[in-house]
Symmetry: C2
Subunit: 223 residues, 2 copies
């Protein structure tokens, strides 16, 4: 059994067109064709199948929660986890420079290859086969979901917490800005008049500093 046959067995696939599977495993450093067109295709199929599974299983969730859950399932770190479970790194075809620099274990490349294999399966065996592969690769991940609430950003959670108690919205204000151009540093203050609380945080962008200040306030509010 050669490497591609072993991989197919592991993934529960039987590829008619082995060249397509090789394309899905070929990094740009290996030449052309490489996995990038199939990754584009697989990415959109994956997004759709995960959206569809969540929509069917969770009639209680609104589109905001569904979108956040989907984003957490299709992000690079989740895909890289899946790639490692199936040892996809062992099958990558790469140029020697990329190999030496550890590309076979890089999250971004591993995530790409999960998508390109999904795309190759679509081209080789059609939509239902590719959908089944997504469901198989994700396994329990599509069932054991994080609480939708925990995926909200800190500002949103703080706002909902305060509004839930009938309080006014928190106020954010940049109180210090230092550095120049791409080395800027923002210090933001978050004030809740109702709770008589004030937190500050510093980060490389206003948005990040606001989120960190909101997180600090959430922490000082939780029992």
């Amino acid at each position: 059994m050669n490497a591609l046959q072993r991989l197919c067995k592991q993934l529960g696939l039987s590829f008619n067109d082995q060249a397509l599977l090789r394309e899905a495993l070929s990094h740009r450093s290996y030449g052309t064709p490489n996995y990038e067109r199939l990754e584009y295709l697989g990415d959109s199929l994956l997004n759709f199948v995960v959206a569809d599974e969540l929509h069917q299983a969770h009639s209680d969730l609104d589109e905001g929660d569904l979108s956040r859950l989907r984003a957490s399932l299709v992000r690079g770190t989740t895909l890289a986890e899946i790639a490692r479970e199936y040892q996809l790194g062992d099958y990558l075809l790469m140029g020697s420079g990329e190999l030496k620099s550890g590309g076979f274990d890089r999250d971004s490349i591993l995530a790409d290859v999960v998508e390109s294999i999904i795309g190759a399966t679509l081209r080789d065996a059609g939509f239902e086969a590719a959908r089944a592969l997504v469901v198989r690769l994700y396994g329990r991940r599509l069932v054991n979901l994080p609480a939708a609430d925990t995926l909200k950003d800190s500002k949103t959670r703080l706002q909902e917490y305060l509004q839930g108690d009938g309080h006014a919205l928190p106020l954010y204000k940049v109180i210090e800005k230092t550095g120049q151009d791409h080395k800027l540093s923002f210090t933001v203050e978050c004030v809740s008049e109702a709770q008589k609380l004030r937190t500050t945080a510093t980060a490389s962008s206003r948005r990040k500093a606001e989120q960190a200040a909101a997180q600090a306030m959430l922490e000082s509010l939780s029992p």
Copy 2:
């Protein structure tokens, strides 16, 4: 024939579950359930089907061109055009405030409803029916594509133009920044040493000003 039956006929659909079609046509201002969950679903199906059609039809295009073509096909203005061709605005269910303010003819709402009807078709009749609807709604748009090159942003096109002639990259520099916070104004200079050309442009962000300066340089380079 009632309104929903007329719409189905126009779209070439036969809905088993009329409640689902009503949901797809209900704006948030009309109450709950509204079209937002179905829009989330239809959006992801639409993205996938358009990606797939382009991938199959254009083996000559790389993933960058495919992505730009897809973006141009699924953006709000294209969807609103399609909605108007099918007079979808006539079938919207909205609260009276939204109706009076012209919501039935707003691009963003019309675009949403194209997606929600696609999502409803998926739930009602399955993937192949929804895919066929997308292909039907798009018609010639999936065939008469803009030249992939015209979808690139101005900085990319300028860079490719200069590199194609073996010239160095253009340089961008902010030469003036006025105003405060959300009323900032940036003036950017674009310089091509090789062509002995210099253009400037002013906009509300550095990125926009750079694009405009690149566009101005492209125009002064074209015969």
